[in-house]
């Protein structure tokens, strides 16, 4: 079990200071988090990184891998429409086999829930992450920015819509899958008819309500119980969508090329967004708005003192544990490498609702790992 070497109090105070200036209520989060909830939100891939514990006869729990879910939970319980929460404490993640990463480590962070200007909130968090990371003394830091929502807007701009666009957007979190989907779409391999598909193709020819009724009848005749929580209507709808995908879902070579070039964009922000504008061509409202928001973010970052020559935007930057759905960022040290970010954060507006929030609210946050920020570590 690898424990992080302690960071001297003076360095810790310097790293903590930007968070204290940002203003927030203190969050005291439980170390034990319900396992089911974590897996439900982040997926099975997270399980490998979790320390799972169980009391006699109790439900399985995990040691908190981070503070995001506790922060959202605390905010929902407060009943307030908006709130900001500051936390400092240990988090726990199983290190990949063969790596020497600490499994128990300190995090300091802030989560903000409000309905304010999204671009402004994103920039504030990214700047906060930068300042806190830089306070550790490293001089080889860079801020990497990404935007999960931009891909969808770009697809819309190149004329992709409906099921195909949805499919590609879904694959964005996993680069390997995304490339596979792109290839398949270009080669017309999506939703090809398969053997045993006769029933599905027959149903696809009916109206959805007729098809659903027929499917239920077939189940009943065959003695099939509809277990698994999917209604006939749902299944029939998916069959119809697949049929339409088979008819329409080809990426033209031009579209495929544009998308690939979009994903390859990785540069200082101004040239990166200029390149994206050029690729998309004229007349695309969703993308225009997204790019305007980015101009505002960049101005805000500059106003907050983040050096322009240390910022980079990458169109393909996504994150595996998928509850981030907007802007993402990481502060990386050249000495530590890409897989040990010093600070990270992003926007996850969709998460509060999934955890039961009734009041609509944006959610954005960041955290820093003092153990990595502190230059005295190496």
């Amino acid at each position: 079990m690898r424990l992080e070497p302690p960071v001297p109090e003076k360095a810790l105070a310097a790293i903590r200071a930007p968070f204290l200036e940002a203003g927030a209520s203190e969050l005291d989060a439980p170390v034990l988090q319900p396992l089911g909830l974590l897996l439900d939100l982040a997926g099975e891939a997270l399980r490998e990184r979790l320390f799972v514990v169980q009391g006699e006869g109790g439900a399985e729990a995990a040691l908190r891998p981070d503070f995001t879910i506790p922060a959202v939970t605390a905010h929902i319980e407060s009943g307030r429409a908006s709130g900001r929460y500051l936390y400092e404490g240990r988090a726990f993640r199983v290190a990949p086999r063969g790596s020497d990463r600490s499994e128990e480590f300190l995090q300091i962070g802030l989560e903000a829930f409000d309905a304010d200007d999204v671009a402004k909130g994103d920039a504030e968090m990214a700047a906060l992450a930068w300042r806190a990371a830089a306070a550790g003394g490293r001089d080889d830091l860079a801020l990497l920015l990404g935007d999960v929502g931009l891909f969808g807007a770009f697809l819309d701009a190149v004329g992709l819509e409906g099921p195909l666009a949805a499919r590609l957007t879904r694959a964005f979190a996993s680069p390997r899958r995304l490339w596979a989907e792109l290839d398949a779409a270009q080669n017309g391999e999506l939703a090809t008819a398969r053997g045993g598909d006769r029933l599905a193709s027959l149903l696809a020819g009916l109206s959805e309500s007729d098809a659903a009724a027929v499917l239920e009848e077939i189940w009943s005749l065959a003695g099939i119980e509809p277990v698994g929580g999917r209604s006939a209507g749902e299944i029939v709808h998916r069959i119809a969508e697949r049929a339409s995908l088979a008819r329409t879902a080809r990426l033209s070579r031009e579209q495929g090329e544009l998308i690939r070039r979009f994903l390859a964009v990785g540069d200082a922000p101004k040239p990166a967004f200029a390149a994206i504008r050029r690729l998309a061509g004229p007349g695309r409202p969703a993308l225009d708005k997204a790019l305007d928001d980015w101009s505002r973010r960049l101005r805000a970052l500059a106003a907050e003192g983040v050096p322009a020559d240390r910022i980079r935007f990458s169109a393909a930057f996504g994150r595996a544990f998928g509850y981030y759905d907007g802007v993402l960022f990481e502060v990386r040290s050249a000495a530590l490498g890409d897989d040990q970010p010093v600070a990270a954060g992003g926007r996850y507006d969709g998460l509060p609702r999934r955890l039961g929030a009734h009041l609509p609210t944006g959610a954005v946050g960041c955290m820093v790992r003092p153990g990595r920020a502190w230059i005295g570590r190496r």
Binding site: G36, L39, D40, G43, E44, A45, R47, E48, R97, R167, R170, A171, A173, S174, R176, R177, A180, R194, G196, D197, L199, A200, L215, W219, A222, G223, I224, E225, P226, V227, G228, G229, R230, E234, I235, R238, I239, R242, A320, G322, R353, R354
Partner: protein, 246 residues
């Protein structure tokens, strides 16, 4: 003092009978010895071999821990031990009996699901609609995670099931099941085979496994030479001619 070779074989069921018959076929009949409960045995003419009868799962664990040097157990159970299994255990030979496939199974009512790509799609739609992930009931957590990851399916979670896994969907505890076949599928299930059964490594036939962690001492007479290379650690039992099962 030479350490005996610990050879672990299944303690019950059809597998036990099949392994005993196979050993007899190889000219190495098992004799019972020590322990009224019959958990220990010996092989005529091999005084330095201790045969231990354990459950198939315990055999996998014992090989992994180096407590057994040689064993016969299911490949599915060995693979469940994790990715470092192959650094510690060498699979010598598939014995060709007790074969089963590990499959992903979806409800028969899901007529639109025929491949892992469909599972991926449905998992995502399910998550978007309900805010929760599709649940997969299985006791093969390691292999399930590896298989789903290989197929790029991330929107799911595993609910551990140590018995009667097949009943999980009907009981509302899960939507999918990953389990070994071997019996007739129930009416309400339809078996989904992985897209390439062979390539997915889904053939847990019974195989001979050997722990590579424990080095056999030279003085026990098992090695041809004094070297420490892997070949020198081949136990004679596996190479003996006259073994008609393979």
């Amino acid at each position: 003092m030479a350490e005996p070779l610990i050879f672990a074989i299944p303690s019950k069921g059809r597998l036990k009978d099949q392994v005993e018959a196979w050993l007899a076929d190889c000219g190495l009949p098992l004799t019972a010895s020590g322990g009224a409960r019959g958990y220990q045995g010996a092989i005529d003419g091999f005084d330095d071999v201790q045969v231990r009868l354990l459950s198939a799962a315990d055999i996998a664990a014992a090989l992994h821990a180096g407590e057994a040097h040689l064993g016969v157990t299911g490949e599915d159970l060995l693979r469940e031990l994790g990715d470092d299994m192959e650094a510690r255990i060498r699979l010598l030979r598939a014995l060709g009996f007790g074969r089963a496939d590990l499959v992903v199974a979806a409800p028969k009512s899901w007529i639109d699901v025929e491949s892992m790509a469909d599972v991926d799609d449905v998992a995502h739609l399910y998550l978007a609609r309900t805010g929760r992930r599709l649940r997969v009931a299985t006791k093969y957590m390691t292999q399930t995670r590896a298989f789903f990851a290989r197929h790029g399916v991330a929107d799911y979670r595993i609910v551990e099931s140590s018995g009667a896994t097949e009943g999980a969907p009907a009981a509302g505890a899960a939507e999918l099941v990953v389990d070994i076949t071997g019996q007739q599928p129930q009416d309400r299930r339809r078996r989904r085979y992985p897209e390439q059964p062979g390539a997915a490594g889904r053939e847990p036939g019974r195989s001979l496994g050997r722990s590579t962690d424990g080095c056999l001492p030279a003085s026990a007479g098992y090695r041809r030479g004094a070297g420490a290379g892997p070949d020198d650690r081949q136990p004679r039992l596996a190479r003996r001619t006259g073994c008609s099962r393979s």
